[in-house]
């Protein structure tokens, strides 16, 4: 049990923008130093690093040990599956601290899509460029066929043009509409409600890339279709930036500051044919975060759904917060589409969601900026501050989640 055994004692970030000067390495160093300064911890005292696995996170442990002057790392771990790992990386940090394998663990995510490739592209303009599985490399003969190596069923998907995450999530959203007998108009209203609500949050958040860009229902509807039923503003931003936070024992955290944010629970999940972002599922494609995993998340935390004051859901697309309301048990299955249009997820709703603007309108950082937002909410320092929150949930659609408390 890790409940209240560890805490987030510092957070840090770079600015977020379509293109920032500096490599992902430089961005990582900036965010980590900011998090350590926020915590009041000397960088040389860091002894643990937890991160998203390559190819998502490209900044390595040795790069950071050298650049930060870390004395010695006694624990380091990587979590696969991209944003699905947002609750895994903190779980590993917490396990290390409670097991005595490390005392001061930094979790980080640094991203330079302007130099490292756009997630919205699957060819040489995408992540990795010439790397394995990305198709045509820079300088490749443009008339040559793209041969897709088999890896996680990719060779069964790419030949049909299923090459980008947004297309997979469009398949999920269509399935949701089918199972719940929604018209295209019902689905448009539901996804639009999420995108517009998050944009309004971003308009109140100086950190958000979309802080100055208003969006109304017409703007949302009139945007071009990317992969039906998802339109341009149903998809997340592509950007540069970095986030980091520092995990220590609760005792250390209390000695460092008055307002540590405690980890109540962190849950990972994977089951047969139920890979996060899996295409081939034998069960219902809609079952993203499994009910058993959600039950474990809340039981380990010792709280119930009604105790949660604010939720930050990973949102590579607007569909994910919609379905996350159901899979985490806040709204009954098949009712979130109505809930988001009638009750909503805005500042005055029972459960404000993605109060920073999310990946749709603040910036995309594999869920890490959602963790930072949850910490700010619990400290009472968020731009769109929820009234006196005590408990926050940060969750990925399918792979992992955490519950935090002040």
């Amino acid at each position: 049990m890790i409940r209240r055994e560890v805490a987030i004692v510092g957070i840090g970030q770079t600015g977020y923008a379509k293109a920032l000067p500096g490599t992902a390495w430089e961005l990582a160093v900036e965010a980590i130093l900011a998090a350590l300064a926020d915590a009041g911890i000397d960088p040389k005292d860091v002894d643990g690093l937890c991160r998203f696995a390559a190819p998502f996170e490209t900044v390595s442990e040795p790069q950071l040990v050298r650049a930060l002057g870390i004395g010695e790392l006694t624990f380091f771990a990587q979590s696969p599956l991209g944003g699905e790992a947002l609750g895994a990386v903190i779980g590993h940090a917490a396990a290390a601290v409670t097991a005595g394998l490390a005392s001061t663990v930094v979790v980080y995510r640094a991203l330079s899509q302007s130099t490292g490739g756009r997630f919205g592209r699957a060819d040489s303009r995408g992540p990795g460029g010439t790397g394995a599985g990305t198709g045509t490399g820079v300088g490749a003969d443009p008339s040559a066929h793209v041969v897709v190596a088999e890896e996680d069923n990719r060779s069964f998907a790419w030949p049909y043009g299923l090459v980008s995450p947004g297309q997979l999530f469009a398949l999920w959203a269509r399935r949701y509409a089918t199972v719940n007998r929604l018209t295209d108009e019902d689905l448009t209203q539901a996804l639009g409600a999420i995108a517009i609500t998050q944009r309004r949050y971003a308009n109140g958040n100086p950190n958000a890339m979309m802080r100055d860009r208003k969006m109304d229902a017409d703007d949302y509807r009139n945007a071009r279709m990317i992969s039906e039923p998802l339109r341009l503003f149903d998809l997340c931003l592509e950007n540069d930036g970095a986030c980091a936070y520092v995990v220590t024992s609760a005792e250390t955290a209390r000695a460092l500051r008055d307002d540590p944010v405690y980890l109540l629970s962190a849950t990972q999940t994977i089951s047969p044919y139920r890979e996060p972002m899996g295409i081939y599922v034998t069960g219902e494609l809609l079952e993203l975060f499994p009910p058993a995993a959600a039950a474990r998340l809340f039981a380990d935390a010792g709280v119930s759904r009604k105790d949660v004051d604010v939720a930050e859901f990973y949102d590579a697309t607007s569909y994910m917060p919609l379905r996350s309301l159901e899979s985490y048990g806040f709204v009954p299955d098949g009712q979130a589409w109505r809930y988001v249009t009638e009750t909503g997820t805005g500042p005055d709703s029972p459960l404000p969601v993605n109060t920073h603007g999310g990946h749709l309108s603040e910036a995309y950082l594999h869920g890490m900026n959602g963790v930072l937002e949850a910490v700010r909410q619990l400290r009472g320092t968020a731009s769109n501050q929820v009234a006196d929150p005590a408990i926050a949930l940060v969750g990925a659609p399918a792979g992992s989640a955490m519950i935090l408390a002040r």
Binding site: G135, V148, N153, Y160, G161, S164, R175, M225
Partner: protein, 131 residues
């Protein structure tokens, strides 16, 4: 320019069969369960005595998307195109494309049947069309 699969020892029989106009899925010779895509052993009884079972090539559209924005240079000329997950009559689901109809006419639950399309001189892929 087409996007084609690199066959592995595990997946080659599937693609080779498609090249001969046959849709097959992997089957356990010990417990008779079947699945797709291929696995190194049966996930139910763990037998490695596996074979390939021809299927009817009929099914229904489980879910789909009409792609209107190309995210890969090789797909630019195909916009709009339809990605679908088809539930085969025999049970397993496969990722495929729907051709032979206007993309606007594709619906979830629609009955479809396999049609084989040569995408290069050497590679034929199973697509689906309205039944």
């Amino acid at each position: 320019m087409a996007i084609i699969p690199a066959a592995t020892d595990l997946t080659r029989p599937y693609w080779d069969s498609a090249g001969h106009g046959k849709l097959v899925i992997q089957r356990c010779n010990n417990c008779a369960s079947h699945w797709h895509p291929p696995l190194p052993g049966c996930p139910h009884c763990h037998s490695t005595d596996l074979g390939w079972q021809p299927v009817s090539g009929t099914g229904t559209v489980y879910t789909y998307t009409v792609v209107r924005h190309a995210t890969h240079a090789a797909l630019a000329g195909q916009i709009p195109y339809v990605i679908a997950i088809v539930e085969l009559t025999e049970g397993p689901r496969i990722v495929t494309g729907i051709t032979g109809c206007d993309p606007r006419d594709v619906r979830a639950g629609m009955e479809v049947r396999v049609r084989f399309e040569a995408v290069t001189d050497d590679v034929t892929l199973p697509y689906f069309e309205p039944a």
